[in-house]
């Protein structure tokens, strides 16, 4: 159980501290059921904070997105902390950034919120087109209660939750200064049925699936922008010298883009599902990244963002790493 009032009170307290610049949380968005990130700078701002199954955004991405503007001479950088509200997956993103030195421990103040899953926006619009007019959501046991202006509806969680939430192994934040709510019982072993289905298909069927998906890619780069792990100042997929991927939008370059990004996320992706959520073309990027998450977990025994002291997966090796594929 997470009480919004508790969150608001805590936020007010945190933001009043001298050493905290602002707190990032969620508030009701401006369009339909959408939820926006909310920067709380004063205790009054904290009143707008919410927490509900609609709170999909992974706020950790704002830690690295925050632009460091050039400082006038003589001015010292603002070294106050950024406080952050995180769900289970989001907290792992923060830990992963820590192991990669993308953030410093002293720069952040993590407030964890145990999460039972968030609603998949496409499933919501499909089942309840009226949601576009505005809806609020809350948990009712194992069901989700949707409060429309016209009335309430209830639906089983499996029908509405995002795919990555259904196979989530870390609903409770793994690293936080304080956890604001009761811990949740994990419900999944982490295997995604969508991934398994693709693994069992023939190579030709698999390619047919992905070719169709990648053909729809617009190269809008929303997936990259929203991902907490993608924060290189100058992404190699944008570079011209050398040119890894051309800017033309065709399925050859699109495939290369997605393979490259998926590979860069190996051992770093925490499965927050944001990439799939924001894709305007509805490409199931979650399947691609989740496959590698499972691969790394099963064959190499590593999960991103679970241990702040761990070495980055891509910069380490185990003398016992498998080599049955080597001639």
């Amino acid at each position: 159980m997470v009480d919004q009032a508790v969150i608001r009170e805590k936020a007010k307290e945190i933001v009043s501290r001298e050493d905290v610049k602002h707190l990032v949380g969620w508030r009701k968005g401006t369009f339909g059921y959408r939820v926006s990130p909310h920067w709380v700078e004063t205790p009054e701002d904290a009143e707008k904070l919410i927490f509900s199954p609609l709170c999909s955004p992974n706020l950790t991405t704002y830690l690295t997105l925050e632009e460091k503007l050039p400082l006038p001479k003589g001015e010292e950088p603002d070294r106050r902390k950024t406080a952050l509200l995180v769900k289970g997956c989001d907290s792992r993103a923060a830990v992963q950034l820590l192991t990669e030195q993308g953030i410093e421990k002293e720069q952040v103040l993590i407030l964890g919120v145990p999460c039972r899953g968030v609603i998949d926006q496409r499933k919501l619009e499909e089942k309840f087109p009226e949601a576009l007019g505005g809806v609020e959501a809350e948990w009712d046991g194992d069901k989700i209660r949707l409060r429309f202006p016209e009335g309430e509806k209830e639906i089983a969680r499996e029908e509405l939750l995002a795919g990555n939430c259904l196979n989530c192994r870390y609903p409770n934040p793994v690293w936080a200064e304080e956890i604001l709510g009761d811990e949740v019982e994990p419900w999944s072993d982490g295997k995604a049925p969508g991934v398994e289905e693709l693994e069992k298909a023939s190579p030709d069927d698999r390619w047919a699936f992905w070719e169709k998906e990648f053909s729809r890619c617009l190269r809008c780069y929303s997936c990259r922008n929203v991902c907490p792990m993608c924060y290189c100042e100058d992404c190699i997929l944008d570079r011209l010298n050398p040119t890894w991927v051309y800017r033309s939008v065709n399925y050859s370059e699109n495939t290369a883009f997605h393979i490259a990004r998926a590979f860069h996320l190996v051992g770093r992706c925490v499965g927050c599902g944001e990439c799939e959520r924001v894709c305007p073309a509805g490409i199931p990027l979650g399947k691609l990244n989740q496959k590698m998450v499972e691969e790394v977990r099963d064959k190499y025994g590593f999960e991103a963002g679970t241990d702040p002291e761990s070495l980055p997966f891509q910069a380490s090796y185990d003398p016992q790493d498998q080599e049955d594929f080597i001639l």
């Binding site: 460091k68 503007l69 050039p70 400082l71 006038p72 001479k73 001015e75 950088p77 990669e100 030195q101 993308g102 924060y231 290189c232 100042e233 100058d234 992404c235 190699i236 570079r239 010298n241 050398p242 040119t243 890894w244 860069h264 070495l311 980055p312 891509q314 910069a315 380490s316």
Partner: protein, 668 residues
């Protein structure tokens, strides 16, 4: 990486006589190259590495203002250095060179001329693409330590150490056992001159101990080697002897009175002789000091030796010191010579020869100890013990035991066994004139100076050579039966003899893996240490500043060992005499503007050559990676780990490799 000038590429395709030209249509490759973007000159020549070949390139650099050179010829591992010098002498930065391997990788391995030519064109195209993206590099220099480390105190290590020291440089000679001398000290007489081994070896052993430039560290092992050529950082563990060598005068009273006197198999005698727990490996040991064996000494293993350890009781100078500890010494040296020697083949791996079943089946080295005046039998060749000891009448030598034998994994020939067998056969005839000595051989290899003459002499003395490889050797009463076929007369026989000597071959040392890990050595297919090139660099390794000498690199006899040791010493002295070494130019570089300070490269670098430093980016303190060029070896592991491609090894940047991929992908 800013391209300040347009690349003007010169392509030179070598015929290499007919090595390339017989399979690859050189003219067609030249024609293809001339049409590639950036190529100003495309020529061919019979031998590019020759003087006229090199001059051709140099003239064109001057006349045509070339600033990139592609040589399509043999492997760059062969002639990259040669052609770099060609460029340098013509005033062009030597790193503007790229080579296409169209010999080892094309003309020598493909038969179809059309396919070979097509592939050669493709490889040249790739090289031109890369050449266009090359950048000028500078070879920096660092100071070199004017000292050397020699690992191993056998004849190879001794010789190398003496040569380097005689030239005036400091040498640290580290030997694992309590005395220098190695295998040669175990030999009686050496072939073919029948020189007494100890007589020619001991003066050198004494020289090494007394030489003002040599620090002799016996009973010591090298534990760690770091750094690079000219600046190796070495840790040596000097094991505790439990004897104060400044007080010990080598009198041996302790060994005579030891409570486990003569109960421990003596390594020097290959286990045939015995020693005490406190011992000197052999009478002419250098240094002539006693050592306590910590695995067998009663006091050290059980904490108690009678009322008081006997050795301590009888030692006049009071040299016994059970409180002694291992000491770790840190050294800085400029070059390292590896002379760690060999082990012999363990004959129980061929159980059909009955080595385990009878004391009268012995190895060549054990025979050497029997025949030695300093051995367990005082030089008498005896079988049986005590009362039943007698001289053997019939002796059989079996050649190629553990060599030239796929079934035990040693395909190679051990080179010395034919000759040491002939020598031992001769010595037996000398000591037991009416003995009937036969040698069962596959081939007799008497290749060296005086070898064939010695082999003739030994046969004239009555030693019988029978061509056949025994299938089995078994005991029958107190005789050994050698079951063998004389292949020249096609006669199978069962030869009953008193003593069988197995001419066991040479193998790499059992602890070679430790040395390999220490120094990053490679192994050849026969598992001995790999030289940098079998013909042209027989004493170098792939690690600059580390050299090989003696049987560690492959089986060989004493003259060849000494020659190689002298060669290794000469090579080791090159950086020492210059006093400086060139540092790798193809090191990694970080684009600090795009680096995001994640530290992946720092983790990955095997040489800890990268670290995170703080830079000022518009007023903010930002962590970025920075490469220490003295430590960087240019492997590029950092680059593959970098997600923003910020760290790149020079000459192997993504922008230099990817054009190669693009060119090779083109199908013609």
């Amino acid at each position: 990486m800013f391209m300040s000038e347009k690349p003007r590429v010169g392509v030179y395709v070598c015929h290499c006589g007919i090595n390339i030209a017989a399979t690859v249509d050189v003219e067609a490759v030249v024609e293809f190259a001339s049409r590639l973007p950036g190529v100003v000159v495309a020529k061919n020549y019979t031998y590019m590495c020759s003087d006229p070949g090199q001059q051709l390139v140099q003239e064109d650099i001057r006349k045509e203002n070339l600033n990139r050179i592609v040589v399509a010829s043999c492997s760059p591992r062969m002639h990259e250095m040669t052609f770099r010098r060609t460029l340098q002498d013509a005033g062009l930065n030597p790193y503007y060179l790229e080579m296409a391997n169209i010999r080892e990788h094309v003309s020598w391995v493909h038969e179809d001329q059309e396919e070979a030519t097509k592939k050669a064109k493709s490889l040249v195209g790739a090289s031109v693409s890369k050449a266009r993206m090359l950048e000028p590099l500078e070879e920096k220099e660092v100071e070199a330590e004017r000292s050397a480390l020699v690992i191993g105190g056998g004849i190879a290590g001794i010789q190398s150490a003496l040569d380097i020291a005689d030239a005036g440089y400091q040498v640290y000679l580290v030997e694992k056992t309590p005395s220098v001398g190695g295998r040669m000290s175990q030999l009686d007489k050496t072939f073919p001159t029948l020189d007494c081994s100890a007589c020619i070896l001991t003066p050198k052993m004494v020289d090494v101990a007394n030489h003002p430039q040599i620090e002799l560290m016996t009973y010591s092992e090298v534990e760690e080697v770091g750094g690079f050529v000219g600046n190796f950082e070495v840790k040596v563990r000097q094991k505790a002897r439990y004897v104060d060598i400044d007080k010990c005068n080598g009198c041996g009273d302790c060994a005579d009175n030891c409570r486990v006197k003569n109960r421990i198999p003596n390594e020097y005698d290959e286990g045939v002789g015995k020693r005490s727990a406190i011992y000197m490996p052999f009478p002419q040991a250098v240094p002539a000091k006693m050592t306590i064996d910590p695995d067998h000494c009663l006091y050290l293993t059980r904490g108690k030796c009678g009322k008081e350890p006997k050795c301590q009781e009888v030692c006049g100078p009071g040299a016994i010191d059970f409180e002694q500890q291992d000491q770790v010494v840190e050294l800085k040296v400029g070059a390292i010579v590896v002379a760690t020697g060999f082990d012999t083949f363990e004959p129980s791996r061929k159980p059909e020869y009955g080595y385990q079943d009878s004391p009268n089946v012995i190895t060549g080295l054990e025979m050497e100890r029997l025949v030695s005046a300093s051995g367990p039998t005082g030089g008498e060749i005896l079988i049986g013990e005590g009362e039943t000891a007698r001289k053997p009448k019939d002796v059989a030598f079996i050649q190629c035991v553990g060599s030239r034998d796929q079934s035990v994994g040693n395909e190679y020939c051990s080179r010395v066994c034919c000759m040491y067998t002939a020598k031992q056969a001769h010595l037996i005839k000398e000591k037991i004139p009416d003995a009937d000595v036969r040698v069962y051989y596959m081939d007799v290899r008497a290749f060296g100076k005086g070898f064939e003459e010695f082999y003739d002499r030994v046969r004239r003395e009555g030693v019988r050579y029978i061509r056949g490889n025994p299938s089995e050797i078994f005991s029958k009463g107190d005789k050994q039966v050698v079951k063998v076929e004389d292949t020249l007369t096609a006669t199978p026989m069962e030869d009953e003899v008193d003593l069988v000597v197995l001419a066991t071959g040479l193998e790499p040392r059992a602890d070679a893996r430790g040395v390999i890990d220490l120094l990053r050595l490679s192994q050849s297919s026969d598992k001995f240490f790999l030289e940098a090139h079998p013909k042209l660099y027989p004493v170098d390794t792939s690690t600059d500043g580390v050299f090989l000498a003696g049987c560690a690199q492959g089986p060989k006899d004493i003259p060849d060992t000494v020659a190689q040791a002298k060669g290794a010493a000469a090579s080791a002295m090159i950086p020492l005499s210059l006093g400086k070494v060139k540092v790798e130019a193809q090191t990694a570089e970080v684009n600090q503007d795009t680096c995001r300070g994640c530290g992946f490269c720092v983790e990955v670098c095997p040489y800890s050559a990268i670290e995170l430093t703080t830079v000022n980016r518009f007023g903010h303190a930002v962590n970025v990676a920075s490469v220490n060029e003295a430590l960087c070896k240019g492997c590029g592991s950092c680059s593959a780990a970098c997600l923003s491609n910020s760290v790149q090894p020079r000459s192997f940047r993504d922008s230099q490799i990817m054009p190669q991929i693009a060119a090779l992908g083109v199908r013609k």
